[in-house]
């Protein structure tokens, strides 16, 4: 799978009540990210909390799920 590049947070949430598969991950941040191409992708945010309008950079896929990190 390819590098998704960088993008901007369109919206986000921090989840405290998870489905069975992710109960050990809480709390975790989920966001819809608008990529440079204009396409939006739903992804997890690793590390520092990101807010609407923040720039984020693709980090890696884990089990096919894209993870992004806030750009400093």
């Amino acid at each position: 799978m390819s590098d998704l590049g960088s993008g901007t947070i369109y919206t986000e949430t921090v989840i405290y009540s998870a489905p069975e598969a992710y109960v050990n991950d809480v709390p975790y941040q989920l966001a819809i990210i608008e990529l440079a191409t204009g396409r939006r992708v739903t992804a997890r945010i690793d590390g520092e909390r990101a807010h609407i309008g923040d720039q984020v950079r693709f980090a890696e896929f884990r089990n096919s799920v894209p993870f992004f990190r806030k750009q400093s």
């Binding site: 949430t13 921090v14 009540s17 489905p19 109960v23 819809i32 739903t42 096919s64 894209p66």
Partner: protein
């Protein structure tokens, strides 16, 4: 197309009922609707069942004949409709369409869900099945998370506040406390609502509807035959179902539900009314933000004004336009497959003047808005005195 009327309604209590199974709830609601409409099972020409996830929650499939036969209904089409939380709204839409087209006369629609037999993480996972399994759900989205992201964006674009969201919960609990069949008959304060346990920021437990068991049923027929069955027929003036993308990240603007707007336009047109004519409504407040967006998308208030209007009391029981006088999904409960027919029952009760302490003053034209998923299905029904 023939005019269609509701001749009978029946609801179980909504709540957590460890000793009740899906079928017994559905049968109870169905029998109550038949009694209410003075009809017998032998008169039914078709049976429509709305149910979202019976097979996942209970292990039972082939649910429509399973429920119908337990009521003594055989030898007619018995079919289950699944459209996430709009399952029974969709079943009702298709049943009304068939009666209007002249395919059948006397038809029973039952909505049911049995949810509380599973632990919350499992329920959360089953409900997430109404989202996009290859994208948002695999990434860890829950339904509260999807609506939390909608709320965040609505707050960002329109300045909607936590207090405005909480006002929806406070109002719906006030109404639900007056509803003998509601799941959580408890008044809550603004302070409690704001200090609730976080579920998915910015939503707390008080922004989320309840995990409930329950069923609700509606008996319909051509208006011309309704007088044989009831002296209180309620006419289906307009009804429409439309669809949209399932995945939230495929929608241009997540602060509005395009399917709600398109289905409302069609239903208003069919009924020959405008948004301003609607006197009261039951809307799909699966989360507080969903009620705020609903009153905007239905055209009750301008875009972005749903929050301030709710905080100012415009939607209260004795406000300008009462919304969710039943207590809504928030307080009444949200057995997802029963919610659409439940809303129809609540609007019919209001039009008949039988809503007791919850009765709205102006009650001749009401609307029910039933939403599936994060907006991929919408069913709008406009009902009026016959």
């Amino acid at each position: 197309m023939r005019p269609v009327a509701v001749a009978g309604i029946g609801k179980t209590a909504f709540g957590a009922f460890p000793d009740r199974d899906l079928r017994s709830l559905a049968v109870e609601a169905g029998q109550k609707a038949l009694e209410n409409g003075h009809a017998s099972t032998s008169q039914l020409e078709a049976f429509y069942l709305g149910n979202f996830a019976g097979p996942s929650f209970t292990g039972q499939n082939h649910l429509a004949p399973y429920v119908a036969s337990a009521m003594g209904i055989t030898g007619v089409p018995a079919t289950r409709f699944e459209a996430a939380c709009a399952s029974s709204g969709s079943a009702f839409f298709h049943a009304v369409s068939a009666v209007a087209a002249g395919l059948y006369d006397i038809v029973l629609v039952v909505g049911v869900e049995k949810m509380t037999s599973q632990p919350t993480p499992k329920v959360t996972e089953i409900l997430a099945g109404a989202g996009d399994g290859c994208g948002e759900v695999r990434a860890g989205a829950t339904f509260p998370a999807l609506f939390a992201m909608i709320a965040r964006r609505h707050m960002y674009q329109y300045g909607t506040t936590r207090e405005q969201l909480a006002a929806v919960a406070v109002k719906n609990h006030q109404n639900g406390a007056k509803n003998p069949l509601a799941h959580m008959r408890k008044v809550i304060t603004m302070e409690q609502a704001l200090a609730g346990k976080p579920i998915a920021e910015p939503l707390t437990v008080y922004d989320c509807s309840l995990i409930s068991d329950g069923a609700a049923a509606v008996l319909i027929m051509p208006l011309e035959r309704a007088a044989e069955f009831t002296d209180k027929p309620v006419r289906v003036l307009g009804i429409a179902q439309t669809s949209d993308n399932v995945a939230l990240d495929e929608k241009d603007d997540i602060t509005t539900f395009r399917a709600v707007k398109t289905s409302a336009e069609k239903a208003y047109k069919m009924a020959g009314v405008q948004a301003a004519d609607i006197q009261f409504a039951e809307v799909h407040d699966c989360f507080t933000i969903a009620e705020i967006i609903a009153i905007e998308d239905l055209g009750f208030v301008p875009k972005g004004q749903g929050g301030p209007y709710s905080l100012a009391g415009g939607t209260c029981l004795h406000g300008e336009r009462p919304v969710n006088a039943s207590g809504g999904l928030k307080s009444k409960g949200h057995p997802v497959g029963a919610t659409g027919t439940g809303q129809i029952c609540d609007v019919v009760e209001q039009i008949r003047g039988q809503a007791g302490e919850r009765q709205v003053k102006r009650n001749s034209l009401g609307l029910a808005q039933n939403l599936g998923g994060s907006g991929a299905t919408s069913v709008i029904t406009i009902l009026g005195a016959a």
